[in-house]
């Protein structure tokens, strides 16, 4: 069955350089540096990436950062809490707009 997403494509990510090498090189250099140990640990960054992966709902990123967080020593509880952070922000982002709705209700109501 043909699908838009193929798990095998994840390991071919680097091949985007075949069509535009200089930009790909810059991106992967930047990517590598972003995830290196810094003011945040590589483990903390991996958990952030896992949460963002769920926010943008990228199957490749979810696969990659599920493995990566486990390889950084995180457990399922920590990983699920990270996803709840993403869910809370997403949900909150909808709900906070309710204030706009409430303002408009007040504006047009007697």
């Amino acid at each position: 069955m043909k699908t838009y997403y193929n798990p095998e494509d994840l390991k071919n990510f680097g091949k985007i350089a075949e069509y535009q090498k200089p930009l790909a090189d810059k991106f992967f250099d930047y990517y590598g540096e972003v995830f290196a140990e810094g003011a945040l640990t590589a483990r903390e960054k991996s958990l952030i990436a896992l949460a963002v992966a769920h926010t943008i709902q990228c199957p490749y990123c979810i696969d990659a950062y599920t493995t990566d967080t486990m390889e950084k020593g995180c457990d399922e509880e920590q990983m699920m809490e990270a996803v709840h952070v993403a869910a809370a922000i997403r949900g909150g982002a909808s709900l906070v707009h309710a204030t706009q709705m409430m303002n408009k209700v007040k504006e047009i109501s007697m």
Partner: protein, 350 residues
């Protein structure tokens, strides 16, 4: 759960395992592990010294861990005899061995375990004796309850597997209830002074992943383990060794059954690290099987790949010069020891 051998599983055959491992992995260089070693000038792989004797006292164990490379368990009856131990003692007496690493199965289940430890100590009061204690054995039967005192008396270094600081992950790999028993055993060892600063009694923990992924960086995970075990259980230990699961025996069976084999091998191969390769433990260790045969490492032992020497394949024929001159047998399972930060019974190597 039964051992693969008791199940008459096809992967209880070393020949079958090697056949699977030697199939080329898509995307890897032809020729397998030896090609990768050759490219960094390490093939043929040679020993650097012989300072560690790792002795497998038998395949019998009170646990049946999902990932066990020995395929150990209560149904395994292979046990080292006192005669073979005596041959080991002759080697220890006549050579400069710095570390005796006793493993199994559960080495303590060998009925001559204590006799052997005492005999080693009487020959050499300074040699470092490591026992790979699975912790639960201490609680398994009243006859083992005094093991912590025995270990202390003979200044044994303890290396114990604890895959995680939570029950879920530990039990999924090592069996139901293992985490709680391991915590109780660790407290008993702490009570004897093991893992306590300045006691001189070393208690190291061993982490290996509970699944088809690579281990976390050793130093960071050690900090996390120390904090979690101290905060929640008041347990202390010396060092955490992170170990990569090698694709043999029960872990190979898991990889194949869960359809993770190819991706796991690809990851090990892609993570080949020449620095880790130069520091692999088979370069300074000889592994002795329960029946006295000699191997380059515990993994080669389980794959029945005896050392490549004509006249020193058994402990009774131990010849240091011959063994130092041998070529270490390498196959694709060796990628497990050279991936990332490297892996050995003493943790990372790079």
């Amino acid at each position: 759960m039964k051992s693969l051998k008791a199940q008459h599983h096809r992967l209880s055959s070393a020949k079958e395992e090697i056949g699977i491992l030697e199939n080329p992995i898509p995307g890897s260089k032809g020729g397998g592990f030896s090609t990768y070693l050759d490219e960094v000038g390490l093939f043929p792989l040679k020993p650097t010294q012989l300072d560690t004797l790792q002795i497998n006292l038998g395949k019998m164990c009170n646990q049946v861990c999902q990932h066990c490379h020995v395929d150990a368990g209560p149904d395994r009856k292979e046990i080292m005899t006192r005669d073979t131990m005596q041959q080991c003692l002759e080697v220890i007496k006549n050579h400069e061995i710095k570390t005796i690493d006793l493993t199994g199965g559960a080495p303590e289940m060998n009925p001559d375990f204590r006799w052997f430890v005492e005999a080693i100590r009487s020959i050499d009061s300074d040699v470092n004796i490591i026992v790979r204690c699975n912790l639960t054995i201490i609680l398994a039967n009243p006859k083992y309850h005094d093991l912590p005192e025995f270990f202390k008396k003979h200044r044994i270094e303890i290396a114990s597997s604890l895959p995680y600081f939570t029950a879920t992950k530990t039990d999924s790999q090592r069996g139901d209830g293992v985490f709680d028993k391991s915590i109780k055993a660790l407290k008993l060892l702490n009570a004897q002074g093991y893992g306590i600063q300045d006691s001189g009694l070393i208690l190291n923990l061993v982490y290996n992943p509970s699944g088809a992924f690579m281990p976390a960086p050793q130093s960071g995970l050690e900090v996390e383990f120390k904090k979690r075990l101290a905060d929640k259980f008041g347990i202390t230990f010396n060092s955490l060794f992170t170990i990569t699961n090698l694709p043999i025996s029960r872990f190979l069976e898991y990889l194949l059954r869960s359809d993770n084999y190819e991706a796991y091998m690809e990851k090990l191969i892609a993570s080949f690290n020449p620095v880790a390769a130069s520091g692999v433990m088979c370069r300074n260790t000889i592994s002795v099987g329960w029946d006295g045969y000699l191997y380059d490492c515990d993994f080669n032992q389980m794959l029945e790949l005896k050392v490549a020497t004509a006249d020193s394949q058994h402990i009774k024929d131990y010849n240091e010069k011959t063994l130092l001159g041998r070529e270490i047998i390498v196959k694709n399972h060796c990628f497990g020891c050279t991936a990332g930060a490297g892996s050995s019974c003493g943790g990372t190597t790079a």
